[in-house]
Amino acid sequence: MKEQREHHPPSWAQRFVEWYCKPGLVEDLTGDLHECFERNVQSMGPRRAKLIYIIDAFKFFRSYTVRSSLFVNLFTNRIMIGSYVKTSGRNIMRNKLFSFINILGLAISMSVGLLLIAFVLDLRSYDRFHKNGERIYRITNVLTSKSEDGGKFASTSIKTGRLIREKVTGIEEVAIMRNDFSGDAKVGDNILPIKGFWAEPSFFRIFTFPMVEGNAATALKDPYSVVLTETAARKLFGNQAAVGKTVKIDTLAYQVTGIMKDVPFFSHISFEALVSLSTAEQINKGDNHFAAWTNMWSNSVYILPSENADMAAIRSQLNALAREENLAEENTKIQLELLPLYNIVVGESLRQSEGGPGFTGPHVPRVVLWILGGLAFVVILSACFNYTNLSIARAMRRIKEIGLRKAIGAGKSQVRLQFLAEAVMISLAALLLSFLLFLVLRPVLINMAPEMQRTVKLNLTPAMVAAFIVFSVAVGIIAGFLPAIFFSKVSPMSAFGNVSSVKMFKHLTLRRSLVVIQYTVTLIFITTTAVGYVQYKNILAFDLGFKTANILNINMQDNKPDVLMKELSEMPEVTALSRSLITTGVGNAWGGNMKYKDSRDSVLVMTNHIDENYLPLHDYKLLAGGNFVARPVTAQAVGEVIVNQQVLKRFNIGGNNPEKAIGEQITLNGRKMTIVGVMQDFHYGKVENLIGPVAFTFWTPEDRAIISARIQSSDMPATVARIESIWKKIDRVHPFMAEFYDKAIEDAYSEFSTMIKIIGFLSFLAISIASMGLFGMVVFTTETRLKEIGIRKVMGASDGNLIYLLSRGFLLLLSVSALIALPVTYFFFKIVVLRNFPYHTPVQIPELFVGLLTVLLIAFIMIGSQTLKAARSNPVAVLKSE
């Protein structure tokens, strides 16, 4: 061979030939195949040679090559399956408790698996409706910057798109899209708030969004054209034809150039309208920054490489392009990467610009899927353990059956198949039940979080049903695997001999360790829930440094707050009112650059614009100075600032002494300001963020407004309803957006509550499955030891003695589980979870042990009730039957 590397034919195909071929023929046949393969490697390359090898391996499957016993086996197996089903059915019916525990346990755990399968399949169906979907990529910007946090962004600059179009070869289409187009569309008296994108004509060539009316090639060409979705058009125009008509969106008039089908649910971009990108270009004509290389915050660029394009070449062209552009930049370096369309929804988490509207659509990091999958797997495994354990525990009763089967000629493989068939039958029965559970749980899961509703539907599809069945069979095989192996090894001799001497007791360690694993997992689940819940409550009750109780935040949504303020101040329930730019403490942020004496030392500080009533209303603690003195009405006139201690510390203003800092001058966003007050540090961001420097400046009517109203009322919902009716008078178009501060904080941590709900639910399942398994085990062990108990009683053992004797083993197993589970959970929280929360409360003993106590209690009730029953049994009745 010329090449260094030697190629081998696919080994599985070789093994396949060896498996079916007659022993006499196998050697020269495989030799011939090998010789042809070597020849083909030379003439056609290894890949085709392998393919031909595989095809030939199947072609040689002929009547004269195949072992005769193979056919006989297949044939008998076909016949035997009927018998397996029949005996399995009888076994299931005969052992009702055993079947009940297994079917119920498997059904409960499988319902989780079904939900997860449905969830994953839904996520995988995202964006599959695009004809060219496999070829579409989105540009990812990788930013490294001296002045701000870098990272991977889903957005890029308009310039990137233009440069790719001009310079990069091998690309069929480029579509630049600018997001956050929104406004109130107005047709006659009809007003509809509308959201969408600015896009180019190429948008329709890359994506498959069919047009109902209008020409897709030209619809997005001219400035001030808009394409509406069918629903938006119907809402605006009713049943009239919309194409060619004019829509006024905010202050500008647009011509409707097309109507397109509504965006499918499973699309990572969703919109009601598309406006031609040339519009944005015209509006921003004089602005050099608009298409600058570093203005990468609100555009996305999609590319469609030509068929059979060399992706490596395109990537290197992109790198070269980025390198050239970066030369002109001093502080910023941007790399361009390609993200396949199908990896947008499930894939790497990308950043978005701070404060900008979210536009990336639904997204689930792959890690989350793996974690959920892992958790579901653990729960399902726990149910499988039940099956394994109970089957082996019952071995005594079935060993004679197996012995007889073997004696009349059953081979190992047939016994194995029988037990697998039995397990699969049980798991299929469980599938029916778990499907019902799935239908019940589906709405619960979808309504658990608003993100869920936006992301998945979990509707049944044929693929889903097929996946369910495959899944159920797989679960059956996993559950039945160990029993099948165990029973197939039973020798008929020992089965007919002394049954109790059968080596099943060797498997005690296996069973014990399965129980320990099961309980360890259960305990970890339940303790995690308890600890997580306590931590979550602590976060909600966390002292942010200001008061949030009974404060209603009303988002004015571009309306001037004056009218509403006046109306509110007349309501007796409203005790205080203030205005601010944003709501803090829930993850919102507004930043500015602050400098002190050293003009080169600039720091990003978090800011908010507030009026004079804001600090007293929220009960902020002032360490020095006082509230704003001046009441400027334009942003230009603002000259006072209230800062927190971190600002003093960062710039060392007044030697860290609040009193001395009053009157000092700082520069905020290029404007000189005087410090008039110093606040105690408080949580501007969420609890997981470290407290950083914060500066408050005066709110002016030029800002957007959020009205905070402190409400004192015995009937909160009625008061809120009254405020809403006032809102309707002021703004007929936009829905009332108001939320109590405490609720907003709760929402800000909704991902934690979702997580706790999921883990809590899983731990509930785990505990019920493990308990059922334990129950089954106790029932079977006490049953097998009934005679021993009878003799012990005759000899004078008391009930207490017997209960201790019977439950000792189980309690020992539980303690081992607890010894593993509790430290694991504790360190998991201490090292992994709470590390992300600098201001957390430590994990306390009570929440660690509450789970253990619950599990122990349930286990004890089950063990106790059964052993008590056995201990109370009349020895005469037990001993006389033989």
Partner: protein, 110 residues
């Protein structure tokens, strides 16, 4: 069994086995046939035919020495049996007889 009559392809294979003398194993036979008949001959077909011929007792086979090529697998070499030889001779003489019966006139007309 279909008697000792040879099929067309069987005859070709048998002839090749005879022609290759000591080198008659499946792949070589396959190559030889492809070269001389000009049709693409599949290994699987040759294999099946050799197997059938052996069943009819026209050829016999034995495994050769192991070599480094072929993944260390031995070749199965085929040899004509007396019956095989007889079958070939029989087939040839039958044809010759038939040829001899064609009057020369027939060829000229065509």
């Amino acid at each position: 069994m279909k008697g000792t009559n040879l099929g067309e392809f069987e005859e070709l294979v048998l002839l090749t086995v005879a022609a290759l003398i000591n080198e008659a194993y499946s792949v070589a036979i396959c190559d030889e046939l492809s070269d001389h008949t000009g049709r693409s001959v599949k290994l699987g077909v040759v294999h099946a035919v050799l197997n059938r011929l052996e069943e009819k007792g026209l050829v016999k086979s034995e495994l050769g020495e192991a070599t480094k090529a072929r993944g260390g697998k031995r070749k199965r070499f085929y040899q004509l049996t007396m019956q095989g030889k007889a079958a070939l001779v029989n087939a040839k003489s039958m044809r010759d007889e038939l040829w001899a019966r064609i009057p020369a006139l027939v060829w000229k007309k065509m």
